[in-house]
């Protein structure tokens, strides 16, 4: 096939028809307090890692809620598990446990998630 020098841009929009809720379900089962997040951003404001590097713990948790798990493994390792976020959380969410569960969950669902990403890629290639 000849190369045209341009490619098809993947959509930026969150598509609920491609929702992968397995990781979210796993986290919620083991840490139900994760349900009551208000997205106030208190965790991000106090985050030790986020104050030094590009890391937004609120946004990361939000993306899991939307079934967006791409690049998550790299992102989650930026957390130093200091636990300051838990001190400021107005709803008392055990955020450190949420992070630990995501870390545990990623290898569990890796095969599926990669398949999911490939499917997404293929879908947009056609």
């Amino acid at each position: 096939m000849s190369k045209f020098g341009f490619s098809i841009q993947e959509t930026r929009s969150i598509d609920f028809e491609q929702f992968d809720g397995r990781l979210l379900k796993y986290v919620l089962e083991h840490e139900p307090s994760f349900r009551v997040c208000l997205s106030c951003g208190g965790c991000t404001a106090t985050c030790s890692a986020g104050n030094l590097i590009d890391f937004n713990v609120r946004k990361m948790n939000m993306l899991i809620r939307r079934g967006e798990t791409e690049g998550l493994e790299k992102e989650i390792n930026k957390c130093m598990l200091c636990g300051k976020c838990m001190l400021v959380c107005p709803r008392g969410i055990n955020i450190r446990n949420v992070i630990m569960l995501i870390k545990k969950g990623i290898p569990k669902f890796r095969a599926d998630m990669e398949l999911h990403d490939n499917l997404k890629y293929n879908y947009h290639a056609y």
Partner: protein, 343 residues
Amino acid sequence: MNTVVIIGAGVAGVEAASQLSEFGHEVILIEKNSYIGGKLAKWDHLFPNLRPASEILNNMEEKIKRSGFKILKNTEISGISGHNGKWSLLTHKGESFEPDAIVIASGFGLFDAKRKEEYGYNIYNNVITSVDLEDKLKKGNRIKMTNGKTPRRVAFIHCVGSRDEKSGNHHCSKVCCITGVKQAIELRNQLPQAEIYCFYMDLRMYGKDFEELYRKAQENYDIQFIRGRLSEASENMDESLLIKAEDTLSGRPLKMNVDLMILLVGIEPGEDTISLCKGFKLESDSSGFIKPRDMHIQRNLSSQEGVFLAGACTCPMTIGDTIDNARAAAIEVHNYLRKKQSA
């Protein structure tokens, strides 16, 4: 004995009427409908504790029985004349009154969702309003799609006709946020398998136990909240709806197919309040609600002598706030009549 005419037998009108009767005044309550209770009569359960609305209606009936004031149902005001505390009212049946004081308790109207055309109410099949949903719940109907299928994904849309200058309403209707949370919980009880989403701009959980119900919705009823205003809806071949919004917390556009969309319609002054406001030559605020003489310390006084205000004709209110406000109006009227008599 002084005569007080109260216009509107909703929550505010009945409360003001029963208090003024207790104070020893002759009260005539005028209601255009054949029933009392106003909009409350259409509710199934109330926020934030999901008590049956009939409990409040029964309490109103009891007050009417106890106080024994006169109610004229199926009666509309057709003529208003007078000034400086001397007013005469004419009904469409030809009765006329010259009361010593008048209380306007004409309440609110509801935003007509058809005006927000991009959301597809009355165009697409599976778009209903919070009022339609409450009606279905009251009748005990199963919540279904128009093709009879059970909805698998449902979206509540907040602020329809509120905080929206394009709809002519820049004010916040105050009670729709908590209504949405209440109805989402009720829907969850009917649809245990469905995904339920609420699209909001802000969640204004200002009242007693509102925040607690919101938390319960997240914690125990698995209601998902997405911060972003719906831009438009379009219908798919199978009559489900494709909706678009920005997920403002992720900063990305979002699209979703839903089987049923519920529009949380806002509160407006309503035709009756607007025409009474004109009839008595009262000042109105920029949203069309009747303007009290002072928004903090004279909330039940209008800009005309002898004309008093009770309930949601001045701004959106909850049931509890309306009852408090109507009692306050009764005290204002009572003091006014006492002063007038001794002068």
